[in-house]
Symmetry: C2
Subunit: 224 residues, 2 copies
Amino acid sequence: MSVKTRSKESPEMYLKSIYQLGETDDLVAISALAAHLSISPVSATEMIHRMVSRKLVQHIPYKGIRLTEKGRKQALAVIRRHRLWERFLTDRLGLPWERVHDVACQLEHAAGPEVTEALAADLGYPRKCPHGNPIPTAEGEMPDPEGINLLELTPGEMARVEVIQPEDTEILEHLSSRGLALGVELQVIEIAPFDGPRTLSIGDRKVVIGKEMASCITVQPVSI
Amino acid sequence: MSVKTRSKESPEMYLKSIYQLGETDDLVAISALAAHLSISPVSATEMIHRMVSRKLVQHIPYKGIRLTEKGRKQALAVIRRHRLWERFLTDRLGLPWERVHDVACQLEHAAGPEVTEALAADLGYPRKCPHGNPIPTAEGEMPDPEGINLLELTPGEMARVEVIQPEDTEILEHLSSRGLALGVELQVIEIAPFDGPRTLSIGDRKVVIGKEMASCITVQPVSI
DNA sequence: CCTTAATTTAAGGTTTACCTTATAATAATC
DNA sequence: GATTATTATAAGGTAAACCTTAAATTAAGG
Ligand SMILES: [Mn+2]
Ligand SMILES: [Mn+2]
Ligand SMILES: [Mn+2]
Ligand SMILES: [Mn+2]
């Protein structure tokens, strides 16, 4: 048998976080990483040292960290597994898209390339996760995301929902309960003064969502 | 996010081992458990203490251990998940039955009841794993295994393969390469003197397998 | 009943991944 | 250039799972 549990889970979660934070800024502050992972900066620094010695990240003291090519490849592999499992959970098992993230966050650490690619094949090589995020290719390429933030729309404009971002069950269920989901077409009816809550028209329904919630949604404008 | 990795993996592997060893003997010796898990008896004892405090096992010093009702339920849940994931890997992803065990041994620790039951439903509530072992029910019942060991057959008898037991890739690939698989019909042609190797007829092929390998196979006799 | 073998406990170690509370070093700003 | 805020390191701790070696305890057989 053999138990010998030295789980790859934590380092893989660090890789994912660093990748995601690195999409906006080239160098990621360890404090930002620590906040993102809800751990203390000291603990994060400790782990970064371990990951530096494994050549997964590069650390420029007082500046920040950045994934090495090896780290980037591994991060993308984890993200690929995560999003493929999400698709599996929604497409094959019929679980709600608002709730698959946490399970996928466990499964993503459990299977190697053989299983991952068999899964991808079975799912028909999907290109996006159930929240609209692109699935990295087996070769380690991350497709460019498309669309603009809902906040950028002006009253009267119509758009289709492309991505619903922070994959937090609470937020997703809130949005889902208001009729927001991938592919839904909406129109901005009104923006309250001082960049306030948006009133949207979805189907025959009018919903009001705050600025915070609106910023979670990426859309593709459509002509009227 | 939150990493906070306190994986349930090790305790769950202990539960599975204790359950399996407990099928033959009521009380399981910690030394037997340690050997089964390839860990030292001292480490096993330590873990048993933790599991006793969690009311998963009962320990009768110098006699052995036994699962509590709570422990038995959890063990069966893990075994159910394991065997369902095995079915998924073979039936849905087309992976060879000789090689799905190790992956399932990772996946079994990753998903809760919601996913497990959705998976069971998707697979059509299978009753056996790809190696012929019964899948415990969601209610925590273990179906009785059927069949007799291949060693008990006498020359001339015909039988159908029902279970192939120690789920070790090496062994399974060895047997598979010799044409042995679930559902295969065979006839015992000859047993070498002193309870030696068996010569079997499988289809139009004659194969010789040692006593050790033969003992891995459970069969259902069929009339000629 | 006594010796032997199995079992348990004690003691001390390791690694990973977390924690807190300092203190030191550097970067950025006034 | 001195002050302030951020970042890093040092020091000491915890908990889970593993390890080894050695001593104590108990069960079982002769
Ligand atoms: Mn994860
Ligand atoms: Mn997603
Ligand atoms: Mn396992
Ligand atoms: Mn099996």
